[in-house]
C-alpha cells in the first residue's frame, strides 16, 4: 500500500522578538512565501508561535503534523528553542518523519543528519556572539 500524498511545507512564524528584534508577522510571511516560490515549495498557511516566553506549543503542533507534510519553513533559524537539547529533538523529529526543515531568512536546510552539525554551528556561534563586543 502506498503512503498517502503529503501536503506542502507548513510556515512557522513568531510573535515575540527574536535576538532582540521584532519583525512584523506580515513580513515574516512574505519572507517565507518568497523563499517557497524561489525554491518551488508549496507553501501552507503559517502557524504563529505564541508570545509567551519559552512557549513552543505551535512548533510542537507543526511537528505533530509532520507525517502529513513535506516539511517546515520557519522564518529564521533562531526561532527554534534556545536549549540545544530541545533543538536536537526538533531535528530528530523532522528527520524521523522524512521531512525537511528550512530557515527562510538564512536559506538553510536540514535534510540529513549531516546537516545538523552545520546548523548547530550557526546557532552556537550566534549564542556566543551575545557575549562578544558589539561595536566595530
Amino acid at each position: 500500500m502506498s503512503e498517502p500524498a503529503r501536503a506542502g511545507y507548513r510556515g512557522y512564524i513568531g510573535s515575540r522578538p527574536i535576538l532582540g528584534n521584532r519583525t512584523p508577522q506580515a513580513v515574516q510571511n512574505l519572507v517565507i512565501r518568497d523563499y517557497c516560490q524561489r525554491n518551488n515549495l508549496t507553501y501552507l498557511l503559517a502557524a504563529a508561535e505564541y508570545m509567551m516566553p519559552h512557549c513552543y506549543m505551535m512548533l510542537n503542533e507543526v511537528l505533530a503534523e509532520l507525517p502529513r507534510l513535506k516539511g517546515i519553513v520557519c522564518y529564521t533559524l533562531f526561532m527554534l528553542p534556545d536549549s540545544p537539547e530541545q533543538r536536537r529533538e526538533v531535528y530528530r523529529r523532522v528527520l524521523e518523519a522524512k521531512a525537511t526543515l528550512h530557515a527562510a531568512l538564512e536559506g538553510q536546510v536540514l535534510r540529513t543528519p549531516d546537516d545538523v552539525g552545520r546548523v548547530e554551528d550557526i546557532w552556537l556561534v550566534q549564542q556566543a556572539l551575545a557575549h562578544s563586543p558589539k561595536t566595530l
Binding site: 510573535s15 512584523p24 508577522q25 508570545m51 505533530a64
Partner: protein, 269 residues
C-alpha cells in the same frame, strides 16, 4: 454591567457579550453584505476563468468543485488581495456591525487594514486553525473580531469557541500542554467547546482572548468567512501595530484638536 450611564440596549448587548464572549446578530446593512458577497463570487469566478455566477451563495458553497486543496492558499490570497483592493470594502464591512462595535468597543476605533479570509473545503486538513487565542499569537487583549460568513456556517463548517468560565480553566493550565500540544487541550475541553451557527445575513462578534479555532469541515459545502479586528484607538497595541496592521477609522473632532494642540511657548524665568 456597571454604569447607569449606558442605555438599556447597550447594557443588554454588553451583558450577553460578557456572559458568552460573543454575540451573533443580523448585519446592520444587508445591501452592503450582498455587495461584498457578489463581488467575492465575481472575483472567484474571474480567478477560475469561469462565467460570473447567477447565485453567488451557491457558487461559493460549491467552490470545492473548482479548487483543489493544493491550490487553495494561492486562491485564497488572490481573493484577499482582490477584495481589499476595493476602495468601498472596509467601510462596508465596518457598517455591518457599526452600532454593536460602538456599544461593545467604543466610538473611536482602529480597524485592521486588510480583512482576512478563511476558505475551508470539505474534508481539507491543510487550512486548520487549532485551538488558540489571537492574544497568545501577538494581538492585543483589547481587540474584538467581527467574523462574517458569506455562506451559512454551522457545525464543523463554522468555528468553535470556549466560553469564558471554561476558558479561564484552560488558560490557567496552558503551560501543562507545552509538550502535549493544543490538540490535547482541545480534547480535554471538547465538551465545553461551542460550534457557533452563523448564517449568511448574520455576523459573529467575539472576544479573541477566548480559545477558538476550527476542525476539519465534514459538512458538504465550503466555508467562506472573513475576519477583521477592531479595537479602541487609544487602547494598548501588542505585536499588531498601529499603521502596519491597524488604522484609525473613527477619530472624533475633539481628539483631532487635542492631538494638534500646543501650549503657548516663549516664557522665560
Amino acid at each position: 454591567m456597571t454604569g447607569g450611564f449606558l442605555s438599556n440596549e447597550d447594557r443588554i448587548l454588553g451583558d450577553a457579550f460578557l456572559k458568552d464572549g460573543y454575540v451573533i446578530r443580523a448585519v446592520e446593512d444587508r445591501a452592503a453584505l450582498d455587495r461584498i458577497q457578489a463581488r467575492m463570487a465575481e472575483l472567484a469566478a474571474s480567478q477560475l476563468k469561469l462565467d460570473p455566477p447567477n447565485d453567488p451563495k451557491a457558487f461559493l458553497d460549491d467552490i470545492h468543485d473548482h479548487v483543489a486543496p493544493d491550490k487553495l492558499n494561492a486562491f485564497r490570497l488572490a481573493m484577499i488581495a482582490g477584495i481589499n483592493n476595493e476602495t468601498w470594502f472596509r467601510r462596508a464591512y465596518y457598517g455591518l456591525a457599526e452600532k454593536a462595535l460602538a456599544s461593545l468597543v467604543g466610538n473611536e476605533l482602529a480597524m485592521q487594514r486588510r480583512a482576512n479570509l478563511s476558505i475551508q473545503l470539505p474534508g481539507d486538513e491543510s487550512s486548520l486553525l487549532p485551538a488558540h487565542t489571537d492574544t497568545w499569537a501577538g494581538d492585543s487583549p483589547f481587540e474584538v473580531v467581527v467574523w462574517l460568513p458569506l455562506v451559512d456556517c454551522r457545525a464543523t463548517k463554522s468555528m468553535f469557541i470556549l466560553p469564558p468560565a471554561a476558558n479561564a480553566k484552560a488558560a490557567g493550565k496552558l503551560s501543562s500542554y507545552n509538550d502535549k500540544g493544543v490538540e490535547a487541550l482541545y480534547r480535554d475541553f471538547e465538551s465545553d467547546m461551542r460550534f457557533l451557527a452563523v448564517d449568511y445575513g448574520q455576523y459573529l462578534l467575539f472576544d479573541q482572548n477566548l480559545i477558538h479555532g476550527n476542525r476539519v469541515n465534514v459538512e458538504k459545502t465550503t466555508r467562506w468567512t472573513f475576519n477583521c479586528r477592531f479595537k479602541g484607538l487609544f487602547t494598548p497595541y501588542a505585536d499588531k501595530r498601529l499603521g502596519e496592521f491597524f488604522e484609525p477609522i473613527t477619530m472624533r473632532p475633539q481628539t483631532r484638536l487635542g492631538l494638534a494642540y500646543k501650549l503657548p511657548e516663549g516664557f522665560d524665568e
